[in-house]
């Protein structure tokens, strides 16, 4: 029996899919573009000033109190350790007896168990001291190397900060072949100290990198 035209059902229930192709095209382009421009390392910067050579354009006028001479803390990095000096003279080696003949660095190198994680294919600095050993090969490797004593340096910095709470400046000098990494580590040690449970304490955040020590 024929139905009335109005009752004919010659259409299907619309079960239409969204046309996702343009969307997919968009995503296929966006993902590589974002992947390329994404950097997965977070970067930061450390402010460093150079010592005034000749006429520095914005050399700050010294506003030190006349009764207290500036500390002029200078950290000299050599492949034997750190030598700390102030305007009063060079600090003696930690633990050295007064009147010791050989004046070594204030904080000599120490031998310490180090993980090879950060030093694959090379040695931890100072390399001249460690190069007699085999190079770091596997990240799980852990061996005894000569290394800079950052803990002792930090302790020394704290003592100095206690004695000179106003001082914020630290001058860093280094031997020619000291690597950038070591210098940054000293800046890190000198910038801030954070004991557990304590407020972080600022030490000497203003770094001056002095060129040349030869």
């Amino acid at each position: 029996m024929a139905r009335k035209p109005s009752q004919r059902r010659n259409f299907q229930d619309a079960e239409m899919d969204l046309n996702l192709t343009p969307m997919m095209n968009l995503i296929a382009i966006l993902i590589p573009a974002l992947l390329v421009s994404t950097v997965f390392v977070e970067i930061a910067v450390i402010n460093v000033s150079a010592p005034a050579i000749g006429t520095a354009p914005d050399a700050e006028p010294p506003k030190d109190k006349p009764d207290k001479p500036p500390l002029n803390l200078t950290v000299t990095i050599t492949d034997k350790g750190f030598t700390l000096a102030g305007s009063g003279g060079v600090l003696d080696a930690v633990g050295a007896e007064a009147g010791d003949e050989a004046k070594g660095p204030t904080i000599p190198l120490v031998q310490k168990q180090l993980s090879c994680q950060q030093f694959l294919g090379t040695w931890p600095p100072p390399r001249s001291k460690n190069s007699s050993q085999a190079k770091c090969q596997s990240p799980d490797d852990s061996r005894t190397f000569w290394t800079y004593d950052q803990e002792a340096l930090q302790k020394k910095f704290l003592e100095l900060k206690d004695a000179f709470p106003e001082e914020k400046r630290m001058i860093i000098a280094a031997e020619e072949d000291i690597e950038f990494e070591t210098i940054i580590n000293v800046m890190d040690t000198g910038r801030m100290v954070k004991a557990e449970g304590d407020e972080p304490r600022e030490l000497f955040p203003e770094v001056v990198l002095s060129p040349g020590l030869s």
Partner: protein, 194 residues
């Protein structure tokens, strides 16, 4: 079908009952019922794929860096780790690796194992001439911009992106050269963490 072919067909083969007639009771004139087709979904379902892609997209957008100074990935450029927290700002950059010196990502000088050749230096070996030239150009450009646009003043800031193995000698040469080119504020780039 032609008649010639029919001659080869064995007789009686057409006498077999029509296969269609099996489906319908004999004598029925009704057409055999059309088999109801199960609707097969056409095409591949992409919903789950789209979900994944959307999540990746959001993740990438979130980690999209807007830092003005970006670190180019290179085998010989691994900045040291540091606990510094200061943000980088837009400035001239000088990139030091053990093999190359770059200013604003343009190669300026090839060096050997972090040592600048004798012929490229002056002033007691402290001034690296090609680098000085490149930095001078950059300063001139910035000053030209500053003369038209007062909000883009020349600030004397230079960002030093250096590999962790670069020796202090090269670093001090670069700092001296930058100082001669009127850069007075240095920013050393480091990787957060460590």
């Amino acid at each position: 079908m032609s008649d010639v072919e029919n001659e080869n067909v064995p007789e009686g083969i057409n006498d077999l009952p029509d296969p269609d007639s099996f489906a319908a009771p004999a004598g029925s004139t009704k057409k055999p019922k059309k088999k109801r087709k199960i609707e097969e979904p056409t095409g591949v379902t992409m919903n789950s794929l789209l979900d994944i892609l959307t999540i990746i997209l959001v993740f990438l957008l979130k980690s999209y860096s807007t830092d003005p100074v970006t670190l180019k990935q290179a085998e010989d450029l691994k900045p040291p780790f540091s606990s510094a927290q200061l943000k980088a700002e837009q400035s001239t950059t000088v990139t030091l690796t053990l093999n190359n010196l770059l200013v604003d990502d343009k190669p300026v000088l090839r060096i050997e194992e972090g040592v600048v050749g004798e012929g490229d230096t002056s002033s007691n070996g402290f001034l690296v001439d090609p680098l000085f030239q490149a930095l001078q150009d950059s300063v001139d450009h910035q000053k030209r911009v500053a003369s038209f646009n007062s909000s883009a003043e020349f600030s004397g800031v230079i960002t030093v992106i250096s590999d962790r193995h670069v020796p202090f000698k090269l670093l001090s040469q670069v700092m001296y050269t930058a100082g001669q080119a009127q850069f007075s504020k240095f920013k050393f780039m480091v990787v957060k963490g460590g």
